[in-house]
């Protein structure tokens, strides 16, 4: 599919470089070291961080932000560690994901991955309790991912019934893990998300 130059957004690279972590985007010289070393490419052959970076530099905003492969990055930092141009690819991809999430919130985009829901549900636990509360996370994430409470609970049981029993038997799901943590300074954590975050 040829690139339609009149549909490009020349400001997209500046948008990414304006995000924390996205600053080094324009240093990329397309050597592909990031992609060759990436452990995900073996499993998801379409995943290609080099290409995502070049498309970003060209201004293919819509294509980049709606690419489902954005959401399979593990943030394992192999690409960042090996990049000869110090592009900080893992951080650049994170910056792009945050732009995509904002676009979805604004109703301009539908993200084809449950990962934003998971990340949000995780963050909500921190805002509420100051620490991660696994049960609270699962109770928020699964229904949202599956579209209803019943379906969510069914999916959660399927994924975690065996694991939960295993952990319980080994004494890793005791009262301390079952009850929500309550960090005394949790009001500050809430304030942090409000003042520093993008929500």
């Amino acid at each position: 599919m040829p690139i339609k130059t009149w549909e490009l957004d020349p400001n997209f690279k500046n948008e990414i470089m304006g995000e924390a972590g996205g600053e080094r985007l324009a240093s990329c010289f397309q050597c592909s070291t990031c992609t060759l070393g990436c452990p995900i490419t073996e499993i998801v052959p379409s995943y290609n961080p080099r290409k995502i970076i070049q498309m970003s530099l060209l201004g293919m905003r819509k294509e980049v932000l709606s690419n489902p492969d954005l959401w399979v990055c593990l943030i394992c930092q192999t690409c960042t560690a090996r990049c000869p141009q110090d592009v900080r690819i893992a951080d650049v991809l994170s910056a792009i994901r945050r732009i995509a999430e904002r676009e979805e919130e604004a109703g301009n985009l539908k993200i084809d991955s449950p990962r934003p829901l998971f990340d949000k549900a995780f963050q909500h636990q921190l805002e509420k309790y100051g620490r991660l509360y696994d049960i609270g996370l699962a109770k928020e994430y699964y229904p949202k991912k599956e579209g209803s409470f019943i379906k969510g609970m069914k999916a959660m049981m399927k994924d975690y019934k065996d694991f939960g029993m295993r952990m319980f038997k080994k004494g890793k799901m005791g009262p301390k893990a079952m009850l929500a943590p309550k960090v005394k300074g949790r009001a500050v954590i809430k304030k942090i998300f409000k003042e520093m975050g993008e929500e």
């Binding site: 924390a20 972590g21 452990p39 995900i40 499993i43 998801v44 959401w71 399979v72 593990l74 943030i75 394992c76 930092q77 192999t78 960042t80 560690a81 090996r82 893992a90 951080d91 994170s94 994901r97 945050r98 991955s113 449950p114 990962r115 998971f118 990340d119 995780f122 963050q123 636990q125 921190l126 100051g130 620490r131 991660l132 696994d134 994430y141 994924d159 065996d162 694991f163 295993r166 952990m167 080994k170 004494g171 890793k172 799901m173 005791g174 301390k176 893990a177 943590p181 960090v183 005394k184 300074g185 949790r186 500050v188 954590i189 304030k191 942090i192 998300f193 003042e195 520093m196 975050g197």
Partner: protein
Amino acid sequence: MSINKLAYYPGCPSDGTAVDQDMSTKAVFEKLGVELVEVEDWNCCGAAEVEDPKVVYALNARNLAIAEKEDLDIVTPCSICYYNLERSNKALKADEALCTKLKGIDSSLDYGGKIKTKHVLDVFVNDIGMDEISSKLEKKVNVKVAPYYGCYIGRPPETAFDDPDNPVLMDKLIELIGGEIVPNFNYMKTVCCGGPLMMTRGDIAFDMARKILDVAKNAGADCISLACPLCGMMLDGKQADIEKALGITIGMPVVYITQLLGLALGIEPNKLGLNKNAVDTKEILGKVV
């Protein structure tokens, strides 16, 4: 040895899925004569799910400020917590405007940049030192180990404290306590376990974890050793789920490096949480002499 007291940042899984890591870390430091003072009322570091660096820095400013009041450097057994604490520490030390902004949000975020943040592995090998540990060993842990480091020990460069491709700190400890490093596992040492995708792309996560378990098994390892609770959840906690989903049998014990070190220091296995690992560890205990 120059240190005798550190602030301890346990991380969120320490009460649940990684309680064995928490127990063994505390027991080992006690035996080594280093007092751990838990960071009072610590909050989550942001893990991998808080993607905005500014929020991560703010979350960790609070933890750093608490330890700074006690005038103690922070140590954590979790690689992700370490990465977040260390990069926040660096960012806050370098950015006065950020510090001023955080102070404005809440006085508890007022961090003066005076302390260091470290991973337990770094403290063992580089601060306490091999000679000191060696002098306290009581037993030989005669096991063949696949040392698995995961992501944030050798990466990214600005927070790394070991080699990105062939880290060695855990190898050194294993050899010191009488263990053997299996051949042909080196190339898997730092390949991600898949943990961050567990809840959103479990299929990819299982595939990645399976590779590590397979390579360790084929290399003839008695166990895999770890230094991160997320790796622990994937490789140990989820191992039976991986076996079931992929129709394979692995049966590879997975232990934290603090558990192995604790055995060599003569600590009671149950005090190291070795009865809590999902894959049975009895065979390893039989090789402690």
